[in-house]
Amino acid sequence: MPIMIEELADGVTKIVLSGRIDVAGSAEIDMPMSEVGTSRRAVIVDLSGVTFMASLGLRSIVLAGKAVMRSGGALVLFSPQPAVEEVITVSGIDELFPVCRDEASAISALRSSPG
């Protein structure tokens, strides 16, 4: 399963993605990401285990993040591998959702976000 969801302290939800988020991977993460997006207000996404991110995976992140933002919350990404970071930067997703080095700075970014 390329997705795991953990509840952290202070209402923070951590999504851990792993492996190839390709067509098959995206199909598996789509629904859980959507559920988190519509029900949580503070979300961090661990990308350290993701080796490939296809367009559909980016789309899942964008839609989940959009839903979180709509309810006044925030979503932060952290620890992407260089190849995944490049696709996130080129797609401009980092303009909407901050990309941090590690989990601690992601939680910190979440606290300082306007949402």
Partner: protein, 533 residues
């Protein structure tokens, strides 16, 4: 005057003639403005009105190609239904065949007066509006055409003497195949059998050729038109193939009539000498025969148009681009209700924008199956964009109130941007395979595909959603792309071809984001205007 200067003057006369033909057609087509086009479309209700409308359009534009594009444009825009209207370009060949008749009439004096008057009008800047300028330039084109023929005719006497001395004319007169080849060559070079026929008429009027010599020339020109029409089939969808096949059938039938005339003249040479045919001069005989060939060809084609269209449809492989370029929402009947028409145009625009991510599908890491090629999507996208623009032009012709007018212009601009996005994305898809060895190229494609999916989603909402989120994603990447390019130049393993392809992709990427941003803003503004209206 020696042979060289005679040939020089002859060349000048022919040059003036060709400039005149082009000037006439180039200025008459824009003169046939929106209203004339709308009237043309409205007139095509039955076979007879289609025939007369087609002839009038051919006469006015002097170009069956222009008429073909106009009719195909109407069909693609949903203004005209497929079927009987496809005969209009065939009939336009009859109208265009009036050009040789015009040359057959001695209009030198009229040409001189027209050139004089147009010259004065241009010098004293009377061509203030576009319409007046096109009108004057069309008149100048017609006059130059006739004046060019006048020069040619004046030189022919000397040329005939020289050619007779050198036995060239005698050789040509007795070699109908050579004359047919000359006629075919002229038609292929000018892309118009009427122009070749007009030259034949001028040669007969000036005594350079007799009627029996000119007949193979116009027959050759007509046969060449069969070939030029067939050559267009290669690049056309089903409607275009039907239109050009019908014209090829017309030209073939007309050519058979002309071939019969060539045979008749060979068997009974005395019957076709000047002055024997209803008192007509030789040039007029050729002009009338050419027009009769178009008319007879048109009648034959009208009789077989349905089976011919059926055969074309059966023989044409599934026309993916054709069906993709067909509007689904643009109902002509709604044009009298601006609100309904604008709503339909918005739906069609959303349908067009929904295809944006598909243009990159075949160059993604894991392409989805059964997606049309980027080339087909681009062609269909351009056609659909043009159809939306044309539909909204039709709405503007109904002179809607100011708010509807503003919304129509916004949607026209958005349709243009959607078409330009199709072009840019197809260009990226074309460049991507050359940069396959560079991982960054793949990431660029995945990122752009995700962005276009977001834009497509926004278009599906028809502007109802807040655009800020999408616009933030579409922010400028100038600096990022510049950094990417600088980094790539230091990559040792990339070939110059790969680097060049990736450079092109980064530049196109920036253009796509800019166009997509404008599209989103225009859809939003159009949505607001429609909601307020």
């Amino acid at each position: 005057m020696n042979l060289t200067s005679t040939l020089g003057a002859l060349l000048a006369g022919l040059g003036l003639f060709f400039i005149g033909v082009r000037g006439l057609s180039a200025n008459l087509v824009p003169l046939a403005g929106r209203r004339a086009r709308a009237a043309f479309a409205a007139a095509m209700r039955g076979p007879v009105s289609i025939a007369f409308s087609g002839m009038a359009a051919g006469l006015l534009t002097q170009s069956s190609i222009a008429v073909s594009w106009i009719v195909l444009g109407f069909v693609r825009a949903g203004v005209l239904a497929e079927g009987p209207a496809f005969m209009a370009p065939t009939w336009s060949n009859v109208g265009a065949a009036l050009l040789p008749l015009l040359v057959a009439v001695n209009t030198d004096l009229a040409a001189e007066f027209v050139i004089g008057m147009v010259g004065f009008a241009i010098y004293f800047r009377l061509d203030r509006t576009d319409r007046l300028r096109h009108g004057l330039e069309a008149a100048l084109g017609a006059a130059m055409l006739l004046f060019g023929m006048h020069i040619v005719a004046g030189l022919v006497g000397q040329l005939r003497e020289t050619m007779t001395q050198d036995h060239l004319l005698l050789l040509a007169q007795h070699a109908p195949w050579l004359l047919a080849l000359i006629g075919a060559g002229l038609a292929l070079a000018t892309q118009s059998s009427s122009v070749a026929a007009a030259l034949s008429v001028a040669m007969v009027s000036a005594g350079l050729l007799a009627v029996p010599g000119a007949l193979p020339m116009i027959a050759g020109a007509n046969i060449a038109s069969v070939l030029t029409n067939l050559a267009r089939l290669r690049v056309e969808g089903i409607p275009g193939r039907i239109v050009f096949t019908l014209q090829a059938v017309q030209k073939l039938a007309g050519s058979l009539l002309l071939a019969a005339a060539v045979a008749a003249v060979a068997l009974m040479p005395g019957e076709f000498t000047a002055g024997r045919w209803f008192g007509m001069a030789g040039g007029a005989q050729i002009a009338v025969l050419f027009m009769l060939a178009q008319l007879a060809g048109g009648l034959v084609t009208a009789g077989v148009s349905r089976p011919v269209a059926g055969v074309v449809r059966r023989l044409t492989p599934a026309d993916e681009a054709g069906s993709l370029s067909k509007p689904e929402f643009l109902l002509n009947e709604a044009l009298s209700d601006p609100t309904a028409a604008l709503d339909l145009a918005m739906r069609e625009l959303a349908r067009l924008a929904a295809r944006l991510p598909l243009l990159l599908e075949h160059v993604r890491a894991e392409p989805a199956p059964a997606v049309p090629s980027a080339k087909n999507l681009r062609n269909a996208g351009n056609a659909l964009s043009a159809a939306i623009t044309e539909y909204l032009t039709g709405l503007l012709d109904h002179q809607p109130h100011r708010d509807a007018l503003g919304t129509a212009l916004l949607l026209q601009s958005a349709a243009g941007n959607a078409g330009a996005l199709h072009e840019a994305l197809a260009a990226i898809a074309e460049a991507a395979p050359e940069a396959t060895g560079l991982p960054t190229a793949g990431r660029l494609i995945e990122a752009l595909h995700a962005l276009m999916s977001v834009v497509a989603d926004y278009a599906q909402s028809q502007g109802a959603e807040d655009p800020d989120f999408v616009l933030d994603l579409l922010g400028s990447r100038d600096r990022l792309m510049e950094e990417l390019r600088n980094r790539l130049t230091q990559t040792g393993s990339a070939t110059p071809g790969m680097l060049d392809a990736l450079f092109r992709m980064t530049i196109l990427f920036e253009r796509v984001l800019w166009l997509a941003g404008r599209l989103v803003v225009e859809i939003r503004q159009a949505h607001r205007a429609l909601a307020d209206g």
